[in-house]
Symmetry: C2
Subunit: 320 residues, 2 copies
């Protein structure tokens, strides 16, 4: 007879792809796969596809699986209602009761939150945050997401959408944000923000830069990083500018939240010392005196490919 | 035989006076009094004086009292260590182990935090926050203090000093703050901030104002309020300027914390609709869309004279 293994299904719904995995209690991913998020006639067809694919994963494993629940990280995921609400990057518009639909299909508990909150929970259960009661997770992708662990719990707030660090306004009348307002942190501190900074610097100054040899439209945060590593003046200046804005914002967040650690996760965080060190410098230079030496910045302890699945699964594992 | 009544001693240590009261479970203050905070040879003499005065209060009551503990609100009060740390307005410099000293003197549990955190707890236990899981308390006095209730608990953070809303920097290279940095929220939004705003407006413009007939040095936030009520142009403009800065800051705090309510307490909050209404307007105009209609601003439900004592007592009552 097969041994029975308790697992949670961790599901990360992105604009293009949906990643999912079978996660054991200690955060080990036993199997994972991906389906497209696009191209379904309706949400039910998407869920049916997911069900089939998840069943395939389970059947391929040597042990018998008992599914404890399904955790979902999704843009604008609402923990209280189990819904995805008006997510700009998804085909399904309006308010999607993804939690209820999945629960009906799988007959197990389902929890939904946004991806940055899920990442913070993942860090708490399976990453560097295990023994840290108060920390902040900053996810740096196309945009900037935030998740707050306060007193060992994820801070959802009244709306369920707390932690929206990317939409704290840091510059009055600053860059236009996808949210319709101006000067949001993520318009500066994100892959897109860095790109915009470099383009501005290239067009507004005559400073020397190898980036002038790259076709404007093929610039990416990744090649900016490569040039910065090679000492390119504009690339380094852009990283420094990004770090200054992020560091000052984190000093403000610390006055409010007093985290012990701030974990950076995602594409830009991979720039490592090019971003983390100067961000920490600017943060420390701007900290309120009672906050000095109480907070530090580190790269996340989660593997980039697995973080979203682990984080989503943490929504259920934290209840077990 | 006298009936035994459980009480908590609530103690509010200010720069000039220390207020204290005997607080019953439902937040009723059975008796209260005040001693000077200044003029003692050392902290022990201060504590001895307090002990004598508290004993007098207790003896004057008809019932027999059982003291459950002592809650202390004090500038830079550290909940984790029971200390007052480098408080600029107090005679005792450095780190004062007020918790341990009081515990020795009274032989009951003692808890210490800063005044704004205590006020937030007071609102939670005895004010309008009873049934609200996520709210923010903003205390508007000479400066600006903040306390955050998140998931029904006061957010202390790693340092114990979370909630320092007054020291979130809202203007790059803005007004010099007592903390040594520039542009802190409290340099604009506080009694002193309002005063500075009016003085700037009077000296930098030729706009008509009855405030020009008030001696510059005798201007106070209170007479600015009186003139504003009477429609004075500069006084109203100063309140609007203050509300704009506060409203925008609260919109940012909401992105991070998602409170259901933001309670305003203290001198400036007494200005009522002159401050609350425009602050709410500016906050709403600057909210991230997912936060719209999730948060509102109200005056605190605590009586101004009693709030500090009630808040301090809540440190102990919440444990009972």
């Amino acid at each position: 007879m097969k041994k029975i293994q308790n697992i949670v299904i961790g599901l990360d719904i992105g604009g293009t792809n949906t990643k999912f995995g079978l996660v054991a209690q200690e955060g080990k991913i036993l199997a994972k796969s991906t389906v497209s998020t696009k191209g379904y006639e309706n949400i039910n067809q998407f869920i049916e596809t997911l069900h089939n694919e998840i069943n395939k994963l389970i059947k391929n494993l040597p042990e018998k699986m008992s599914i404890k629940g399904i955790g979902i990280g999704a843009p604008n995921g609402n923990i209280f209602k189990g819904t995805i609400e008006n997510a700009a990057n998804l085909d399904w518009k309006g308010i999607i009761p993804i939690g209820a639909l999945m629960q009906e299909e799988f007959n197990v508990p389902v929890k939904v939150t946004n991806d940055a909150n899920a990442a913070a929970l993942g860090e708490k259960l399976f990453g560097k945050g295990k023994n840290i009661s108060n920390f902040m997770m900053i996810t740096l992708g196309t945009g900037l997401g935030g998740g707050i662990i306060a007193g060992n719990n994820l801070l959802y707030g009244y709306s369920g959408f707390a932690g929206e660090a990317g939409h704290v306004i840091v510059k009055e009348n600053g860059r236009l944000c996808g949210c319709g307002r101006k000067g949001c942190l993520e318009t500066y501190v994100s892959a897109n923000g860095l790109l915009k900074t470099v383009k501005e610097m290239l067009s507004e100054t005559e400073e020397e830069s190898m980036l002038r040899n790259v076709k404007f439209d093929t610039l990416t945060s990744k090649n900016i990083y490569e040039y910065a590593k090679n000492g390119d003046f504009i690339a380094l200046k852009a990283f420094n500018f990004t770090a200054e804005i992020l560091g000052k914002a984190l000093a403000n967040f610390t006055a409010l939240l007093s985290p012990e650690k701030i974990f950076l996760f995602g594409g830009l965080a991979e720039a490592g010392d090019l971003l983390v060190k100067p961000t920490e410098k600017y943060m420390n230079n701007n900290l309120l005196s009672v906050c000095k030496n109480t907070v530090s910045i580190e790269k996340s302890g989660l593997k980039s490919g697995d973080a979203a699945i682990l984080g989503a699964s943490a929504l259920i594992w934290q209840l077990c």
